[in-house]
Amino acid sequence: MQRKKTAKSGKAEKNSEPLDGPSVTAVKNVTLADLPTPSQLTVKESTVQMMIIFLVLVALYVVAFCLRLFSVLRYESIIHEFDPHFNFRGTKTLVYDGVDAFYNWFDTLVWYPLGRWVGHTVYPGLMLTSGAIYHTLHFFNFPIDIRNVCVFLAPLFAGNTALVTYIITKDCWDSGAGLIAAAFVAVVPGYISRSVAGSYDNEAIAIFAIINTFMGFVKAVKSGSMMWSAYSALAYCYMVHAWGGYIYIINLLPVYVYGMVLVGRYSHRLYVAYSCFYILGTLFSLLVPFVGFAAVVSNTHMAAPIVFVLLQFHNLMAFMRGHLGDKFGDFFRKLVSFLVAGVLVVFVAGLALGVVDITKTGRFFYMLNPAANTIPIIASISEHQATPWSSFFFDLSFLVLLMPVGMYFCFREWTDGSIFLLTYGVTATYFGCVMTRLILVLAPVTCILAAIGVSRTLTLFMRDSSRGSSDGSERGLAGQAVSKFIAAAVTGMFAFLFMFYVVHCTWITSEAYSSPSIILQATGANGQRVIFDDYREGYFWLQTNTAPDAKIMSWWDYGYQMASMSNRTTIVDNNTWNNTHIATVGRCLASSEEDCYRIMRKLDVDYVLVVFGGFVGYSSDDINKFLWPIRIGGSVYPMIREKDYLDDNGQYRVDGGASKRLLNSMMYKMCYYRFGETQVSHQHPAGFDRVRNVQIGRPDFKLTKIQEAFTTEHWMVRIYKVRKEPNRG
């Protein structure tokens, strides 16, 4: 966002200070109270202020929407990646079959032969939102296709996120910081990465829902009104419907309340806000079938009721103290001893009866203790790896440097709102460091805190036009004198930084975050654009050339895309809810052809699909991922050992020195069938793998149990048909 430089004053100044020295007056400790409040402005000024705010927010809506459209302009309006395809299928079911059918939907086309109860294992918020928008548009006779509604939902909600960020920053600080925060969050790459047009995933609406809930809660704490508590509980209800990250909210708010009580800022407004929010919020979160009763029985949700009980206790004790006066001490001592004994008895009884569960496994405990990364299927997901240093600057640009500035100012102005921002900021930073995916949660609060830092700094230096410059030197908005040169320099520096930020965000969105991953692009030798549409080619071949009840086996990465685009039954998909089933597929791909064939016949598999990048140099293919099927298969079936597939030095290779087991495995055969007689280019011998940069170790072999059905134009998707047993009659 471009900031105006300070205008030079027209009249000649009689400056008593040297031009390039700092102001000789001592720096006054400027607080928020010194700044002009809206009530001190004239009517005309406040109208102008409202107009500016409105225009800026409208402009931010447009910018946030348009910046996310790169892939739609370059390719077409298509659903990207993997998870969005499943969400799209669910939305189609909701829109065409109705809400009841969606909530009770048991999907028999996936996880053959187990199936999946989708209605109770999915967060319905995204589908419900798209369905509502679709039906509203159709009601007003705008016949927009459901695919376009889904593709453009995320950019639409990005503008909403900017709006609620403005509101929450305005409540915690002032509206100038609010506008800057909204501008930052509209374009920050950490948020864009999961909300481009086409990325139809839960995060598209979840970030808006998080900030919305926090906004409602901060308003509730500031005003003490039950209406805002009810609003924040309803916003929390929307958040629970939207994303599994709601657990962050239901743990952050108790931590914030407890922190407030600890630093001595307990007030009745805090009590009203949190108690009403807890009751209504927990009740609403029970409405989502996927969450079920977890809100009241699960140990990841226990912070909220504990703080709730503590708050009631605190309030009750304050009430009793008011009435008992000096007898309160005796009363309190009796009560505490009684309660402590009671709680201990209940806890020990719960442990003994097995009711209390203190295990420490699973994805959420991994986030609290990242060193305990023992479950292979969680460890294999690329987004769950620890965040590298570079991705902080990549995703947040110079906001990472301004965030501590904002935190410092929040410490200086110690209000309810600033304590909340500090709590949110510190916890979000921790989680942003644990997993790459959680930079998304860090992005909004970084924008807010950076905006506070920027706003507070700029108020010292930006020229306030309403105050006369009586002694000839510039006066900042805070009313203290600064040298004109310093003021202009600082403002100019910030203007440059903001322009750099926008350029950075646009470039990153264009280069890094706008790829649909289902269509790939490369530059040919003559500079021409080469499009690799092999994925869709393979999936549509399946749709048009296989029987409607054919079952397709592949590694779980492609399950959602296959189910959505080829409309066939899949064996495993990205939901990864059943580790044993995935391990069976992993074992199958890692075994020899005969063993694999036995497992495939048991699973009724008709076709097998693999992704192979060695012909064109596409490096995220199945051979590069092959160690994961081996590890996951080996975690359940002990006959699959990872070291059998590595060579004598422990290296993973596919050339002549590779292990015999690897060269005999089904994955190797399916990827490299007939590749040994293919020359990828004139410089290389036949059978040269462009990704691994070696000649493959076993160029000639025949397939006995499967036959090749289809290979796409650039050999990226290869489909094999499983032969039936010969008729023994």
Partner: protein, 114 residues
């Protein structure tokens, strides 16, 4: 010794409470005690008979706990001693918010009981 202590505490509390609380607030307090008793009865029932339709138990418990909390909040906002903490919240808006929260709570609880 402790029983006289307890009696002394209780009578001191009773005297202070009767002197300082207006009639309006005592009505609120009676309501609060009613909800607390309901919660206790539900809890006792769950201990004795079990919680089989768990969503019914939760629906009953939450509606009682919720109304308890909302009445406590209403009382807080109505008590004259708390005026300085609740700037901008009039008695009328306080009661309006109370009704809104009660409607949301009871509608959802009845829906949830199934």
């Amino acid at each position: 010794m402790s029983s006289t202590d307890a009696t002394a505490i209780f009578s001191a509390f009773k005297k202070s409470y009767n002197d300082s609380t207006s009639h309006k607030l005592k009505v609120c307090d009676a309501f609060i005690v009613f909800f607390a008793l309901n919660c206790f009865i539900l809890f006792l029932y769950r201990g004795l008979v079990g919680s089989f339709p768990f969503n019914a138990y939760l629906g009953g418990l939450f509606s009682n706990m919720g109304m308890l909390i909302f009445t406590v909040c209403l009382r807080m906002q109505a008590a004259p001693a708390n005026e300085p903490q609740f700037q901008g919240v009039t008695h009328e808006s306080s009661f309006c918010d109370y009704s809104l929260c009660a409607v949301l709570l009871l509608f959802t609880s009845v829906h949830f009981m199934g």
